[in-house]
Symmetry: C2
Subunit: 393 residues, 2 copies
C-alpha cells in the first residue's frame, strides 16, 4: 500500500468542511475515530497493542527491551493542518510494511507510539501524554486540568491517568519521531528529509488584564479602566520586543469578559507564546513584555498579572544518534526547530531523534500545511532505513 | 408592597454566583422565568396580558386607545447589573399599586411593556423587540438573526416574529420609560430622579481582520501576516480618535480563529461601539478608525473590512412631554444619555420620555451598577406622578 492510499483513509476524519482545517482534539470523537483506525491498522499488521493508562497507544512488532520507538500524535490545533502529527504515525505503519517488504527481521522490537494531547489544544498543556508517561507532570494535577467547557482530563479519559510508567519507559532503547517540517529550511536545501538538532526553549504565559466593566455608551473616556487597551498595547509590545531580540512572540488566544459589544470589558486574558534560541533569551523577552504591560496598565488604571503555564528549556537531541542518522541518510541536513514535540519530552529519558519532511509552504498549524506525496514516500523510506539500522544492529 | 420586597423576588434569577452579574439573555431560561414572574404579577393586579408576536409583553390596566405606556426590559448584557431594564418594569408595577393606593381612577388606559432583547446581547441587534413592533426592522430579516450558537431568533422564539403592529402602536398615546442612570449626573445635581433630553447617535460596526494562520513557534516574525497585530493597533487607534474628538469608542467584543495559544490567528473579528453628540461626529470617528486600521493592515500584510451592524441617529425626546414631566417633578434635571433604549426607538412613533434614577457608582453593564432603595422608591413615586398626570388629564 502506497502513502496516498493509507493517507486518504484518515483525510476526512475531523476535517471542517468550511475551513478545510482539522478539529482533532484529544479524547473527542474525531480523535477516537483515528485511534480506532490505528488499532485496526496495528491488527492488520499483527502488531500487539498496548495502552499505558495515560491515553498513549503503542503497537509492538516483537517484544522485549531496548525497543526502537517511533510514532507521533493524532490531535490537532483548532483548524490545524493534516500532517502535523498524523504523518509520523502513518509513516511508521508504512515503514513497518517497507521493512517487511525488504525481508528485514529486526533483532530488537519496534514500537509505534501514538501520544495523547501533544498540541495542548484541549487541556492547555502541550505533550500531555508523554509528560504523563515520563512523570514530567503529576498525574493528579493533570487529571484536574479542564478544557474550555469545564470537562476535566479524568472525565474526558474516563479514568484518572496512571502517570509515570518507568516500567514501560525502561523497555525503550531510543525514540525517532518523524514530523512535517514547520518552516522552509528543507525547501532551501532542496532535500526531502532532514534531521533535528534541537528544539528552541519555549513556553506559554497567561496574561490577565483586569479593569472595570462599564457601559460603552455612557462612560466618559477619561473615566474608563479598560483592560482591552492594556491588552492591545501588550500585543504590539510583544511583537516589537520579539523582533528586536530575534525571538518569536505570539498572542493567538484571547478571552474577554463579558465580551459584549456595548460593555467595556472587566477582564481580558491572553496567552503569550514565547520562543528563542536560549532559555535566557526567552526569560528576557517575557520579562520585557511583562514590564511594558505593567507600564501601560499604570496609565490605563488597570492591572495585569503574568502566570507561567508551561515552560520548556532547550532540548538538544542526542548528538551521536543524530549524526548516525544524518550519515545514514546521505548527509541529510541538520536543523533546529521552534516547535515543541513529544520527542522533546522523551529526549530527557532516552536517546531521541527527529526526522523532518519537507513542507513547501513552510506553513503549519493551518490548512495550508503541506507535504508532497513523493516527499512523504521519501520520509517513509528514510524512517525505514533508520528503524532497520537501529533495530538490527 | 415596598420596592425591596418586590425587587428581592427577582434578584436571584439569572445571577451568576461567581461574578454576581446577570446572564439574562433574551428567550433563555432566566428571562423566561422573569416573564413568567411578570405574568403572575400582572394577574395579581388584574392587569390583562397581551403578547404582540414579537416577544414583547403588555399588561393593561383598562382598555382602549390613547394609552399611557410605561415599562422597560428584562434582558441583560453578559454579567450585567441588576437595574438596567428590570428597574423600569418593577417600578411600573409598583407605580400602579401607588396609583391605586392614592385612589386614582385613570381616564386613559395604562400599559406596562416588557420589551425583548433590548441589549442585543444574544442576536446582535439592540432594541430588537421595539424595532419589530414598530417595523423599524424587517420581521423576515430578524427571524434569521443567529446567536453565537447558531440558533436563529425564530427558533429561539418558537415562531417567526409577527413584525410591524400598527394596530397595537395606534393604541398608545405616549411612552415613559424609567431607567437607572448610566452616569453620575444625578449624583452631581443631588437629585434622585431626572428626565432625559436626548440619546446620542450611536452604532455598532464589525471589523474583520484576516491574515494567515501559521505556527507560533516556527514562523519567522518577518514572514507573518498576523491579524492580531492589526486588531491591537486598531483598538488603540479607536481609543485615541475618540478622545481627540470628544466621542465614545469601545471595542469590548472579540472573536479569534483558531484562538489557539500556539497558532498565529487566521482571523480576528472585533465590534466597534461608537457614539457622539452628532451623527456626523459618529461617521467621522468610524471613518478615522477604519482608515487607521487599513493603514496598519497594509504594514502587517493583513486585510480589514468594516460592516455596519446597527446604526441609530440622534433621538431628541418630545420637548413638550419632557418639560411637562420636569415641571411636574419639581424641576427635575434634564440630561442626555449615550445609551440606546427602547424609548429611543418608540420616540419616532409616539411622544416619548424617560425618567432616570440616580446611580451612585455611575457604572452600568456591570455588577457594580447600583441604585439605593430610597432612590428607587422615589423613582416609583415620580413614575406614579407622571402616570397620574398623563392618564387622568
Amino acid at each position: 500500500m502506497g502513502f496516498r492510499d493509507l493517507w486518504d483513509e484518515i483525510a476526512p476524519i475531523g476535517r471542517d468542511p468550511d475551513s478545510l482545517g482539522y478539529l482533532r482534539y484529544a479524547f473527542t470523537q474525531p480523535e477516537a475515530h483515528l485511534r480506532a483506525w490505528f488499532r485496526e491498522q496495528a491488527a492488520q499488521r499483527h502488531l500487539i497493542l498496548e495502552e499505558d493508562g495515560n491515553g498513549n497507544l503503542f503497537a509492538w512488532w516483537g517484544a522485549g527491551d531496548d525497543a526502537v520507538l517511533t510514532g507521533s500524535h493524532f490531535d490537532s490545533v483548532p483548524h490545524g493542518g493534516a500532517y502535523d502529527g498524523p504523518l509520523g504515525v502513518v509513516s511508521a505503519l508504512l515503514a513497518v510494511d517497507e521493512l517487511r517488504a525488504r525481508g528485514v527481521t529486526p533483532v530488537k522490537p519496534i514500537a509505534i507510539g501514538v501520544f495523547a494531547e501533544e498540541e495542548g489544544s484541549r487541556f492547555g498543556l502541550a505533550c500531555l501524554g508523554s509528560r504523563l508517561l515520563t512523570g514530567a507532570v503529576d498525574a493528579e494535577a493533570a487529571a484536574a486540568l479542564r478544557d474550555r467547557d469545564g470537562v476535566t482530563l479524568a472525565e474526558a479519559m474516563g479514568a484518572t491517568p496512571k502517570g509515570h510508567r518507568p516500567d514501560l519507559l525502561a523497555r525503550f532503547g531510543c525514540f525517532v519521531e518523524l514530523h512535517v517540517e514547520q518552516g522552509r529550511s528543507l525547501v532551501e536545501s532542496e532535500r526531502a528529509v532532514g534531521v533535528a538538532s534541537a528544539i528552541w526553549p519555549h513556553g506559554r504565559w497567561r496574561l490577565d488584564f483586569t479593569g472595570e466593566a462599564n457601559h460603552a455608551g455612557t462612560t466618559l473616556m477619561a473615566d474608563r479602566h479598560d483592560p482591552m487597551l492594556t491588552f492591545a498595547y501588550t500585543v504590539l509590545a510583544a511583537n516589537k520586543e520579539a523582533r528586536l531580540r530575534g525571538c518569536h512572540a505570539t498572542i493567538g488566544r484571547v478571552a474577554v469578559e463579558p465580551n459584549a459589544t456595548n460593555a467595556i470589558p472587566a477582564r481580558v486574558s491572553a496567552w503569550l507564546d514565547a520562543r528563542a534560541a536560549t532559555t535566557s533569551a526567552v526569560d528576557e523577552l517575557v520579562a520585557a513584555v511583562s514590564a511594558r504591560a505593567s507600564e501601560r496598565a499604570a496609565r490605563d488604571g488597570t492591572r495585569v498579572s503574568l502566570t507561567a503555564e508551561s515552560v520548556s528549556g532547550e532540548t538538544q537531541f542526542d548528538v551521536a544518534l543524530r549524526d548516525r542518522i544524518a550519515a545514514l541518510l546521505q548527509g541529510a541536513p541538520v536543523l533546529p526547530t521552534g516547535a515543541g514535540h513529544d520527542a522533546g519530552v522523551l529526549s530527557a529519558y532516552l536517546p531521541t531523534a527527529m526526522l523532518f519532511v519537507r513542507n513547501p509552504t513552510g506553513v503549519s498549524h493551518s490548512p495550508a500545511e503541506f507535504a508532497a506525496d513523493a516527499d512523504c514516500a521519501a520520509g517513509v523510506r528514510a524512517l525505514a532505513d533508520v528503524l532497520e539500522e537501529l533495530s538490527c544492529r
